[in-house]
Symmetry: C2
Subunit: 241 residues, 2 copies
């Protein structure tokens, strides 16, 4: 589970040991890459991380991620050593491939329902990005979050996955961890309504104590500091390196 | 495999027999709904179709598709009789649930790679809609199609699924069937390059003879006639009813 600085244009391609260990090309503050880290941690899989500067991408990135995307999982464990992209596809691949700690149900209907729920999570990610970019859209954000509060209430469990965190929990966590960014940007306009989102508040509290989450965690202050730099056109990707 | 006219606002909710048969809420000319029909046909599943007018939706639609979306698969076969939405999720559910004629590989890597390919198909659907709406973007369309020509060449098989149509083949077919719309809109600017897209041309030829495809097929002229009406603000949803 290495880390290190974000590699940029002009950097040498890192020499990784020929050890058959999965390689994740990531960016430390990308919520989509965050999903891949959470899955790898939750499945207790060993992996190498290579952080990539997403603005000034290294020339050799295409060799390990043909579409120059991050996150990319270089599956050196498979024939032909291909790379996988798209956070949800990477996550499902890991769950399908490695049987320990299964996160998506094996039941076709439950799988489909969890995937529909994650489609609906786009309402949250879209509202989130709008707040980040335009400082507006908080109402839409809360309305989108209502859906998750309702669903969690309906399921009657602590986590979307049941008594333990499941696929949905890990896939939405990166945005829950970044609520501090909304608070930072909207200041007093931001109040997390602990009554309206009682189940979600409890979920956040519980997930913060989860080992997979703790294995790739940044504090509210760190997320805010990163965003401050990014807004100023000077993102400190290596803040935690 | 019923059909009938598209039901609109003010229509009575159709009374379907309590026969435990899947119910698909669809629109005859929607390429996403088309995917669901193809999957149901390919799996040789019996199903009721209820066509919905997407502009003037019936008041009762929310009872069978809570987000008022089409396609929606009402799975009366499952406990609680929920509805599923999102064409790819519906398609994967059907393949996971019903073992006959498996369309997605059981291999985790191949599944992931097919899903990445379908993500990349968004390049085609986006270019397609741009041509439909703005009569422009043909170059982008061909460039996006190059990816599929290359991939099919690389796989060295007639279909993306191998010797028989698979998941990818059925998921992309609705847009291949609608190439005639581009021809209709762009007239002489449209030429399907049979050399550049030799494998795709063969794929189209072969898929046209597939039973699942033939079971829900509209001719180039029918697609064009539907689009002419839609452009004129007078879509004839019931053209084939």
């Amino acid at each position: 589970m290495s880390s290190g600085k974000h590699l940029a244009k002009g950097s040498a391609k890192p020499v990784l040991p020929d050890d058959g260990v999965l390689r994740l090309y990531s960016m430390r503050f990308c919520p989509y890459a965050h999903r891949a880290h959470l899955m790898l941690n939750a499945k207790k899989l060993d992996y190498h991380t290579v952080f990539i500067n997403p603005i000034e991408k290294p020339e050799w990135l295409g060799e390990v991620s043909p579409l120059l995307k991050v996150p990319a999982l270089h599956v050196v464990t498979e024939k032909g050593q291909p790379s996988l992209i798209e956070s949800l596809i990477i996550a499902e691949y890991l769950d399908d491939k490695y049987s320990q700690n299964p996160l998506l149900s094996k039941d076709a209907l439950k799988r489909a329902q969890d995937k529909i729920l994650l489609e609906r999570f786009n309402g949250i990610t879209n509202a989130f990005i709008k707040i980040l970019m335009q400082n507006t859209g908080l109402d839409d954000f809360w309305t989108a979050l209502d859906i998750f509060e309702e669903e969690l209430t309906k399921r009657g469990t602590s986590f979307f996955g049941g008594d333990n965190p499941g696929f949905v929990d890990y896939m939405i966590w990166p945005w829950l961890e970044r609520l501090a960014l909304i608070e930072y940007l909207l200041k007093d306009n931001y109040t997390f309504d602990e009554k309206r989102f009682a189940k979600m508040a409890q979920l956040i509290f519980l997930l913060k104590e989860d080992e997979a989450v703790k294995g790739f965690y940044a504090t509210p202050e760190q997320h805010q500091e990163f965003w401050r730099g990014r807004q100023a056109g000077n993102a400190s990707y290596d803040l935690l390196a």
